[in-house]
Amino acid sequence: MGKKIKITINGETVEIVKGTSILEAANQAGVIIPTLCYHKDLCVAGNCRVCVVEIAGQKRLAPACATPCDEGMDVLTNTLKVRNSRKHIIELLLSEHNADCTNCYKNGGCELQKLASEYKIMNQDFIHLVPFRNYTIDMFSPSIIKDDSKCIRCQRCVRTCAELQGVNALTMSYKGEHAKITTFFEKAMNDVVCTNCGQCINHCPTGALVEKNYIEEVWSAISDKTKYVVVQTAPAVRVGLGEELGFEPGARVTGKMVAALKRLGFDAVMDTDFTADLTIMEEGTELLTRLKGALVDKNPDIKLPMATSCSPGWIKFIEHMYPSLLDHLSSCKSPQQMFGALVKTYYAKARNIDPEKIVSVSIMPCTAKKFEAARPEMHDSGYRDVDYVLTTRELAIMIKQAGIDFMKLKDAHYDRLMGESTGAGVIFGATGGVMEAALRTAYELVTGRDVPFENLKILPVRGMEGVKEASIKIENPLEKWSFLDGVELNCAIAHGLVNAKKVMDSIVAGTSHYHFIEFMACPGGCLGGGGQPIPTNPEIRARRTEAIYAEDEGMPMRKSHLNPEITKIYKDFLIAPLGDRRINKINTKYTPRKRY
């Protein structure tokens, strides 16, 4: 707790802790100072100069985000000098910006556009610089489109990729009039270490970084009478979608989402949470098998710790950075891909539909899922398992295009066969969720009892800390699992790739003794994913987290192995976890990639 000091903002006295920035102090005092390069998730840059304010007695204006308050400082945020300077800054940004807003994907959601509108920049007559620049648009990545003509060089993407994700796929290059944000040697995004996580998209204020969208393709499929279009929805979508359609962050809109999807014209609306439950069955069994192999058989080929494999951003990350440790990954596909493979085999057979006619669409909070769906090995059904991946944002666009008044929708239910899920499935959307779901099932499988946590809420795995650890001691297991008696199962949970790196480095160094690790590429887990509504910040992600756990508590079943549709799919199709049928359907392999 620092020393308290008093400053004045526009004549009003404010008491704050010494060292607070003018921006934060203004926020406290209810004064809004516009910003562009500032972001709550990132370190202060102070380079856009939009937030400049006047400090009495100083000739030059000061950047509010980067200037700490001093006792007695007299801050003026609305003088003629400030407004005129700010106008100039916005006009300068617009002059080097491809301001063709009606042709831009970010139209209506662009922070620069919002500022230009607030300041009524209507008589811009600075010389337009874009024609002199030879800007390129990089559309090579399956997930991300990078349009340099819209970049305002706020460096949010650079800081995100470096600080939040530790991937460092982007950098500021050259200097002066040529300064721009590039990849290594300006290669295409899919040609460098980009993990497709899309955090850069979440943090970009303009349309310089957007997702590759497949809206028109999905509309085409839906209106094609010969096609049977199936859609699956990820857990995190239902706590984020509302933000794009008029709700406050943290609103649970599951029923409305399903209703909207039906209205859009999908032939079957089912739930990724179902295959999340399936993943738990498979991965839980795989973990126990590995534990037996390591602890009883002392098999040196068995690799522990085992790492989850449902986050494709994380997968690409480990493929680039730690290719020698790929055997640690669970061999299970992600819920999305399991669903895709099963819908064109199990579901097609059960419903008597020609799998060739099935178009498999998924709604994801994630941009890396677009990359995952396009991975060469993902055609185990005999067809492309997932044809199109839409982000939460794209779904919202489609809902608006269809003229659906989302708020007025009545809740609807998922369709049968692959639409039933448990609370364990829905918590996949939060960091720690996969771990918690896995423990709820594995523990009961091994001991016959519920996890020793009140109301099944395994609190140690929850929360926003970058790396979380939890241990569960196995005592009095069932006879089959007697080799686990007294074993302390050490688990770790990492979210945000920069934290994944920390954990992986500790594994390489041999300083960690985990058995099972959940890795999520995005801060907060999937609910903070690269495809979720923009803006994102710690408060919004916290509210979405609350919503996910509330969904879990509200579900009739909260453990994956109790899901009747799961029981059915084993009975009718898969036979048993890790069983034969499983081969080529729901397990996968990984590709070592170059670090540089």
């Binding site: 202060v44 102070g46 380079n47 856009c48 100069r49 939009v50 400049v52 000739k59 030059r60 204006l61 950047p63 980067a66 200037t67 700490p68 000098k81 005129n84 300077s85 100039h88 800054i89 300068l92 940004l93 002059s95 080097e96 007559d125 600075f126 010389i127 610089l129 305002i152 060089r153 460096q155 500021m172 050259y174 200097k175 002066g176 009039e177 040529h178 300064a179």
Partner: protein
């Protein structure tokens, strides 16, 4: 004008009595406070162009509590028309090394660096020889101090103190936010005194002779002497050590070629003074003198009537657009707008009123740019456009 006219000369910098060993030994035995007071009473101000009181700078760093501190000599001389630091380092390097070491003694630093611009690579062999000799002597008198050269690689902006730190830390030379200031948070986040080569050379004089000898030269607020790099349309280009406070008219009398139209004081980031304002302009730091007082790093470029002020401004703006680090909006985009703006007016693509819009833009750059580069573009822009408006249009 009259070739007999001579400005008040001084000869502190280049007169070399080869007594650096004695000066070093004496001064590292004086208490730091005494040395700081000596500097403060001399009223020495930074000679790189910014003019910050040197004594105060050393004092702030000395008072910082930290085991690790640094002294850095800023030899990234890049301001157009400035070439004095190169001379100092080639002719009297030991004065600079001694000053760095004494600074180390004052603030409590054990390491000093010379950030040498890449273009001066050819100075390295001799400078390294001098450093070896210097360090040898330090070891002899049991003074724990070492000096290293850090080479730049062609970036004018690295002369800005925080950009210099970033460069030394192996990053892009992008200036940092201030506060915090270098005296508390400098190279590697440690308290750092960073001084221009010439400033350090002057501290040598002050420590050798005492502050009064320095203080007695110059005028109020602008004490002491300064090296001026004179070039352009002049019969006597070169480096001259002159007392501060001289009037520009007197300067032109001595250095002009009888046809001087304007003088650029302080390089591209300085001010262009037209003939009609020569007599009311003095060279020194801001003070209550009559007329205009212009601080400077010492670059004096003379232009005669054959020169087009449009070409001059075009040259400066090209320079800034290239050398800007590109980080902040007003400088990165502003420099380009000013450059293209004057070209457009000249070609008739924009009318003359556009110049007024450019002047306002330059003013905004002055108020909002992140570092001295962006903040100083308005100096030459406004002074040239306001005084030679017709040359911008016709």
């Amino acid at each position: 004008m009259s070739t007999n006219y001579q400005l008040k000369r001084a000869d502190f910098i280049f007169k070399d009595e080869n007594d650096w060993e004695e000066v070093l030994k004496n001064n590292i035995n004086r208490p730091p406070n005494e040395l700081i007071n000596e500097l403060i009473s001399s009223e020495l101000k930074g000679r790189g162009g910014a003019g910050f009181p040197t004594g105060l700078k050393w004092k702030i760093s000395a008072e910082e509590v930290n085991d690790v501190k640094y002294v850095i000599c800023n030899a990234d001389e890049g301001e157009p028309g400035t070439f004095k630091d190169r001379e100092i380092l080639s002719k009297v390097p030991f004065k600079v090394l001694t000053a760095i070491a004494i600074c180390g003694h004052v603030i409590g630093a054990k390491i000093g660096f010379i950030y040498l611009r890449g273009e001066y690579f050819f100075l390295q062999p001799e400078l390294n020889k001098a450093i070896n000799e210097f360090e040898y002597y330090c070891r002899e008198i049991k003074f724990d101090f070492s000096i290293k050269i850090f080479m730049g690689s062609g970036a004018y902006i690295c002369g800005e103190e925080t950009a210099l730190f970033e460069s030394m830390e192996g990053k892009r030379g992008e200036p940092r936010n201030k506060p915090p200031f270098p005296s508390a948070f400098g190279y590697m986040g440690k308290p750092t005194v960073i001084n221009n080569v010439e400033t350090l050379a002057h501290t040598y004089t002050i420590f050798k002779y005492g502050s009064k000898r320095f203080y007695d030269l110059g005028v109020q607020y602008s004490r002491g002497s300064k090296l001026f790099s004179v070039s352009g349309d002049t019969p006597k280009p070169g480096i001259y050590e002159l007392e501060l406070g001289m009037s520009l008219a007197d300067f032109v009398d001595e250095f002009g070629d009888d046809d001087t139209k304007a003088v650029q004081v302080g390089g591209a980031s300085g001010f262009l003074v037209p003939r009609k304002r020569f007599s009311e302009t003095n060279i020194g730091f801001q003070g209550k003198l009559v007329g205009i007082s212009l601080p400077t790093g010492g670059s004096m470029m003379l232009f005669n009537s054959s020169r087009s002020m449009f070409n001059v401004l075009d040259n400066y703006l090209n320079f800034f657009a290239e050398e800007s680090c590109g980080q902040c909006t007003p400088c990165r985009v502003g420099c380009q707008q000013l450059l293209r703006g004057i070209k457009a007016v000249k070609r008739g693509e924009k009318n003359a009123q556009y110049l007024d819009k450019m002047l306002k833009l330059a003013e905004t750059m002055q108020f909002t740019a992140k570092c001295g580069l962006g903040q100083s573009v308005a100096n030459s822009f406004s002074s040239i456009v306001e005084n030679f408006r017709e040359e911008m249009i016709y």
